[in-house]
């Protein structure tokens, strides 16, 4: 019980069209990630699903029922916010129990639901504390706990990890993935971080300027992007875009991922000079400036020695190159 369908939804603020007609269906139990650069409308779209923003036209359908005009609290949706948004004057226990109390649930049921959620998130020692007495990671766990308590059919996450430090972000990411397996609920997650998108999602929705660029499984988007935007957005470091004409190709642009670009000191493929080297231990990133193609990234396994200003030759692996036309569309 948690399928969602968006039917040609749009959102207009004044004269600006923020969301330009989006169709999407999310199956029960699926983990869908909305990803895109800032300002692409992903958070607005999430708020429209939650009912916090009005839908200008189109319909939001939950479990087969049109909820476009239904109040947020009546949709059976829970949301986790970027800034945690805990009630500062309530204890952790009351924060988690508020929604059920508002819905008029009996005291025993609230206590049980809060107990279950706090056990799941290891929040038991903090139940009597106020949000101000918790660390950032703990606050975000309380915010997630507040969502779980309501046993919603649909969870919405609005960049929940952005305010956490790097180590905590990885830990909380794993926690969210575990919760998704345990609860089996449908989750929609908004982020601008493509690593979060790749690691968490069953399906990724790539948005740009209020439109869906591509929807697919993480590896589909990685290996088979529909256009240069998706190809450039998914994958880190970013895909290299080479000029087709200079390679003797009919395509306008040829996309090659950094790991599919071979580097050598001899040969006569694409000449360039090393402009920067990043050694990460497990891998080495070499940035090469080419006269024709601009700055290119090469990803090498293990520790490799290249020095700045060294002249090198790059060779793309032909079967792994993606070809795009002048408008950025993929040529298949």
């Amino acid at each position: 019980m948690g399928s969602l369908e968006l039917r040609n939804v749009t959102k207009v603020f004044g004269k600006t069209e923020i969301i330009k007609g989006i169709d999407l269906s999310v199956k029960d139990g699926e983990f869908v990630v909305f990803v895109g650069p800032s300002g692409c409308g992903k958070s607005t779209l999430l708020r429209m699903i939650a009912g916090l923003e009005d839908v200008t036209s189109g319909a939001v359908v939950l479990d087969g029922q049109d909820v476009t005009a239904v109040a947020p609290a009546k949709r059976g949706i829970a949301m986790v916010f970027q800034s945690y948004a805990l009630y500062p004057h309530l204890t952790v226990r009351d924060n988690m129990g508020l929604a059920l109390r508002q819905a008029g649930a009996p005291r025993s049921e609230i206590a049980q639901a809060v107990g279950r959620a706090s056990a799941m998130l290891a929040l038991d020692p903090y139940l009597e504390r106020r949000p101000a007495e918790l660390s950032g990671g703990q606050r975000q766990r309380v915010a997630i706990g507040r969502a779980i308590v309501r046993t919603p059919s649909l969870f919405l996450f609005d960049e929940p990890l952005s305010n956490l430090d790097a180590a905590l972000r990885v830990a909380t990411r794993i926690e969210i993935a575990r919760l998704h397996r345990e609860l089996g609920a449908t989750m929609i997650y908004v982020t601008h971080d493509q690593v979060e998108a790749m690691t968490l999602a069953d399906r990724i929705v790539v948005l740009r300027a209020g439109q869906v660029e591509q929807v697919g499984r993480p590896m589909e988007l990685y290996n088979d992007p529909a256009n240069t935007f998706v190809a450039g957005f998914i994958g880190s470091p970013r895909m290299n875009f080479l000029k087709g004409a200079a390679l003797g190709e009919s395509a306008d642009t040829v996309g090659v991922r950094p790991e599919h670009l071979a580097i050598s000191r001899q040969g006569n493929a694409i000449p360039g000079t090393v402009s920067h080297v990043e050694k990460l231990g497990g891998e080495t990133l070499v940035y090469v400036r080419s006269e024709v193609h601009g700055l290119l990234t090469v990803r090498l396994f293990g520790e490799q020695d290249f020095s700045v200003d060294e002249a090198v030759q790059l060779t793309p692996e032909p079967p792994r190159s993606l070809r795009f036309d002048a408008a950025g569309r993929r040529l298949r």
Binding site: G51, A73, K74, F81, Q82, A85, L86, L98, A99
Partner: protein, 278 residues
């Protein structure tokens, strides 16, 4: 937090602050000490503190015997507290609407409400008096409460809407997701968070109302509705002024407003420094 500046600068800063405090408190001090002195002593040595020879409570006895002083007190307190309540309630509600909801003319309404800060309400005294006469509210405390509420609202709306804009949207949205009504969001989430701003507004609203002589004199000069400021005027005559009584009345009038101020002041300091220290 301790400033890391040189001791010389902090001494200079404190000297300025102390000097200002002394200057500001001096008139109050003179009123209070002279209220305990005999008439002759007030004029002979106005700055001397009362000694056993000059000690005289005649001012206070006159005040308590002449006129219904407790009645005036109660009138002042009723008017101030009721006006304060309405200013804070309506001001906060208007501020919430202006800062939270997008609607046509939002900016214009905000500007219109802020205009009242710049245009003194006394300019409209004649029209207000005509309205009160027509409504049959002359010589009632209601008239004063209505006028003071109108007088306090512009600044209240202006300050509170600035503060409410800073309350996190996520928090209000979380409340909406949890099924809180807009009223519950306003009263239970937003108001507690802008409490320091409310205290600031309360103090700025309260003091001019308590001290006002103009509107009580025009709208409610009857014996039953006199406020303390107006009541003290009976001792200021055209030819003879009973200084003992005036000073005693003013000293007494300071007390309630001081108590109200102390209640709000802890919050007030937080309101003034909010945003500066975070």
């Amino acid at each position: 937090m301790r400033a890391r500046s040189q001791p010389g600068r902090s001494i200079a800063a404190h000297a300025i602050l102390i000097a200002y405090t002394l200057i500001a408190l001096f008139p109050v001090w003179v009123i209070v000490i002279n209220s305990f002195k005999s008439r002759r002593a007030i004029f002979a040595q106005p700055l001397a503190i009362p000694t056993p020879e000059t000690w005289d409570l005649v001012g206070y006895t006159t005040v308590l015997e002449n006129g219904d002083f407790f009645g005036y007190f109660l009138n002042s307190l009723t008017v101030t507290v009721a006006s304060l309540f309405f200013v804070l309630l309506f001001g906060a509600m208007a501020a919430f609407a202006l800062s939270e909801y997008r609607f046509r003319g939002n900016m214009l309404v905000g500007l219109y409400l802020a205009l009242g800060i710049m245009i003194p309400i006394r300019l409209g005294t004649v029209a207000i008096l005509q309205m009160m006469v027509a409504a049959g509210l002359v010589n009632t405390l209601t008239a004063l409460i209505l006028v003071y509420t109108a007088q306090g609202l512009p600044l209240a709306v202006f300050i509170l809407s600035e503060f409410m804009r800073n309350v996190s949207d996520d928090l209000k949205n979380a409340g909406r997701m949890d099924g809180l009504s807009e009223y519950a969001i306003f009263f239970r989430l937003v108001l507690p968070l802008v409490r320091p701003a409310m205290a600031t507004v309360a103090v700025f609203t309260m003091i001019p109302i308590w001290n006002d002589l103009w509107f009580p004199l025009i709208l409610a000069p009857s014996e039953d509705t006199k406020t303390i400021t107006l009541g003290s005027q009976v001792f200021i005559g055209q030819f003879v002024t009973n200084w003992n009584a005036v000073l005693a009345a003013l000293s007494l009038a300071i007390v309630p407003v001081l108590i109200l101020y102390l209640i709000f002041s802890r919050q007030l300091i937080r309101g003034i420094t909010a945003g500066a220290v975070k």
